[in-house]
Symmetry: C2
Subunit: 145 residues, 2 copies
């Protein structure tokens, strides 16, 4: 499919905590909650170490990113997005800039990312999520699920 | 482990949208977002049909429930919980009462669950989640992750 519907891009740009589901070597589900941002038609995340989620994605790139839309009291079905994606891990020294950009969304407009910057420092991987399928409840989801 | 730490129970009782991760037959992750409630030392959910998530849990009971704590602006690491659990599905006519109870948490204190009530009607399954391990960021998570 072709990238992000505008409504979903808007939701991503508002900084929802993204639940990243991957598969452990024993076939069980693994979940961590991360920052994400849009990157062209893809989504992207930055990471400081070779965490379990990265090891899992390296073995099996099938990932799901799910996140809540803002809650509205009195609404029967709260909106949320479920993004099925194919993940590509990139070792990089540029992920600090990504996380510093996301810090302004996720923490506050004047926040700086705390980890030290530069080659050999702690921000070392970015993950690119190529969107395969979008579900959930909201204008970004197909009517029948 | 023995059930829910008080801080986690409190978070569950506040009605966070719970991201339920299961495993598809092809080994890929499946995620839907559901209502949950505490039930003694377990968590519980109610369902109206034999959805994919139930089919998956029937094949492989290893489930992860993850949910955000309320966001606080200016905080570096938002709090969230990741609950690894073993799921048991129960066909039941009582799940309506569960969903009606959860509607008061998730919709509004005077909300009634919308689906019709009674035997043969649409609320037919409850899932019991026996907690195996708790992670995430917050007072419910072990210090080292």
């Amino acid at each position: 499919m072709n990238g992000l519907p505008p409504t979903l891009r808007e939701l991503v740009e508002s900084g929802p905590m993204a639940h990243l589901s991957t598969i452990n070597p024993d076939g069980s589900p693994q979940v961590t909650v991360i920052w994400i941002g849009p990157d062209g038609d893809d989504l992207v995340s930055g990471h400081m170490s070779w965490y379990t989620k990265l090891r899992n994605l390296d073995q099996d790139p099938r990932a799901v990113l799910s996140f809540d839309a803002p809650r509205a009291p009195g609404i029967f079905m709260s909106q949320y997005a479920v993004v099925h994606a194919r993940a590509t891990i990139q070792p990089t020294d540029d992920a600090w800039d990504l996380l510093n950009r996301l810090a302004k969304v996720y923490i506050s407009p004047d926040a700086e990312f705390l980890a030290p910057k530069g080659p050999g420092y702690t921000v070392r991987y970015s993950v690119q999520y190529s969107v395969q399928r979008i579900g959930g409840v909201g204008p970004w989801a197909p009517a029948s699920r």
